[in-house]
Amino acid sequence: MSAASPNLPGTPGALAFGAVRLAFGALVVAFLLLPLVAILPLAFTDSVFLTYPMSGPSLRWFETLATSDAWKRSIVNSLIIGSGATVLSTVVGTLAALGLRRELVPFSGVLRSIFLLPMVVPAVVLGVGMQILYARMGLASSYLGVIVAHAVLCVPFVLVNVSGSLASIDPALEKAASSLGAPPTAVFRNVTLPLAMPGILTGAVFAFATSLDEVVITLFVAGPNQTTMARQMFASLRENISPAIAAAAFVIIVLTFALLLVVKGASLFRPQRNKQRPQQT
């Protein structure tokens, strides 16, 4: 029995209501999934146009990604910058989540809100500030500069995921370990860390996905040598839309979901426990 239809089942009113609900649900699901479903096959088109019907399967656009200098370089850059930003944000984010765990630090709540701010502050605003700062620090158009800028955006995702997994640890487990004589470092290494690991890994995947998808800050702080895959996609979407974009999108989707599947495993189908990530821009 549905929450919104207390009519008796089987009456014409209930049937019509059920049909409307079904149609509405199907329409919204189509709206949500159609873009994802529509773009993937076009990665394999033979044509130079991004339109249906497709003109036969081909890998020519993946070949373009692998052979064109601009695309090849941008993919390598994305991997370098993504890895750097992931390591940096996962380390500082995990440490902070551990520190904030028991609210022992003064102003824990305020700190946590501030740490999540990079999710909310418009990317363009942060981009302007970063551009001014980097011009003074000499970090403009450097790999280190882009990695640091991306890591700032990644930190909230690490913090949220690690805090979530730390909060779900039963304190009795750690108490039991120390009452059995384990020193604090052993408790941390053998109990806390393994239990927090799923959260840390999920945070790292979201961090990597965030860096992979980042365009705006990259436009402000990266030079031509640090062009990432996302920035290359953005540029070609503005100038000459080619199916290479669909191939790049395919790579990004497959990479993100493969990583997610690896770390989330079965919990993928317990969506209510997953974290949302507000997307900048």
Binding site: A3, G25, L32, G93, L237, Q280
Partner: protein, 390 residues
């Protein structure tokens, strides 16, 4: 306990330092740049110090003249000098010829000579030029902040509107708020019933609906925007389907206009509406609606007086979240909108990357940063679940 506190603080310290350096400081520098005195000060540093002592009556003391001579003899970057001359000329016509002429005369006179400025050009004996110079180099200025909302300071210091053909920023700010509001409404109109539907179902059906919300959320924003560009183009799937159904004869213009922006942004932000509403709905005891029905409430009454009030907190935080994030959108309007659909972010990007006018970019950025931060504070107060947790 104190040692535990110290340890915890040490763990948090790296992130505080990291975000302090690369998040708070850049934002602060952006704000500082927007109110700093600007290029005239940069081009005439000695004069800026000396002229601050002059009260503006008559002609300034010989010290100020000496400082100006020193500044004009010093090597200065051509662009900085050019910007300063333009800025001064807009305050007092004549600087465009006066400054280069004075500079050339001083260089020709040799480093040891101490010429009189009035001899080089009689305009230096007019107080109005010195006054414009003094006004042109304040330590702080509200010029950028005023310009961001299409205002300026007149010669007498009063605030006035800029010429109507130059006044574009207010219109773009208004457009930004309107688009964000439209997207929020669209998300609420779709998200509320969809979340109710998901909460009313059970088992695999509920999981399927939630997965349909989460899959786009986990997909790159750029990929989703690209997908909408493909779907909405004139030869795109949507137009093809509508034609095949015989609903239209010619392709509908769905992209590079407001329609495209609203469709793509609604798609991107819909999950942020559905998830908070869903979270507040599943917290409702399952027997409330049957209880309302048993007590004689018609379905509409039960919805209006039981379900909707209980869904309200989720609807409110979802709306705040969507509106707040939508305000700062740049990529999606840039790709799916036309020239008349660009939001404030694109103007900021234009000033920062197009013309390197960081003062204007910072001022406009401040007008985007302040409402976003205020909404975030309200969101933090209202929502039971902190940001990032559905």
């Amino acid at each position: 306990m104190t040692i535990a506190r110290l340890k915890a603080s040490l763990l948090v310290l790296p992130l505080i330092v990291f975000l302090g350096l690369f998040f708070i400081w850049p934002l602060w520098m952006m704000i500082a740049t927007s109110v700093q005195g600007g290029t005239v000060r940069l081009a005439f540093p000695a004069t800026a110090v000396a002229i601050a002592q002059w009260n503006g009556d008559g002609l300034p003391s010989p010290d100020v003249q000496a400082a100006l001579i020193q500044d004009l003899r010093a090597e200065v970057v051509q662009e900085v000098f050019g910007d300063a001359v333009r800025s001064l000329n807009s305050q007092q016509a004549g600087f465009r010829t006066l400054l280069p002429r004075t500079m050339t005369a001083l260089r020709n006179a040799g480093a040891d000579a101490t010429p009189k400025l009035e001899r080089i050009d009689p305009r230096w004996s007019q107080p109005s030029f010195w006054l414009a110079l003094k006004r042109g180099m304040p330590a702080y200025t509200d010029a950028n902040l005023l310009a961001a909302v299409d205002l300026k300071r007149g010669d007498d210091g009063t605030i006035a509107h800029v010429a109507p053909d130059m006044a574009v920023n207010r219109a773009i700010m208004l457009r930004t708020f309107i688009i964000a509001a439209q997207v929020t409404l669209a998300c609420a109109a779709i998200g509320l019933p969809f979340a109710m539907l998901a909460a009313s179902l059970g088992g695999w059906k509920r999981n399927f609906l939630l997965l349909a919300v989460l899959l786009p959320l986990w997909t790159s924003l750029l990929v989703r925007t690209a997908a909408w560009m493909i779907l909405l183009q004139d030869q795109g799937l949507i137009n093809q389907i509508l034609k095949a159904l015989g609903l239209i004869d010619a392709s509908l213009p769905l992209i590079y206009n407001r329609t495209g922006v609203l469709i793509a942004m609604t798609h991107v932000l819909l999950p942020f509406m559905v998830l908070p509403i869903y979270a507040s709905l599943i917290a409702i005891p399952r027997n409330l609606m049957p209880a309302a029905a048993a007590l004689g409430a018609r379905p509409w009454q039960a919805f209006r007086h039981v379900l909707l009030p209980l869904a309200m907190p989720g609807l409110l935080s979802g709306s705040l979240l969507v509106f707040m994030v939508a305000l700062g959108y740049y990529i999606t309007p840039a790709l799916t909108g036309g020239a008349g659909d660009q939001m404030i972010s694109s103007v900021i990007a234009f000033y920062a990357t197009g013309t390197a006018n960081w003062g204007m970019a910072g001022a406009l950025g401040l007008f985007l940063l302040v409402p976003t931060t205020l909404l975030y504070i309200v969101y933090g107060r209202l929502s039971r679940t902190p940001l990032g947790q559905a």
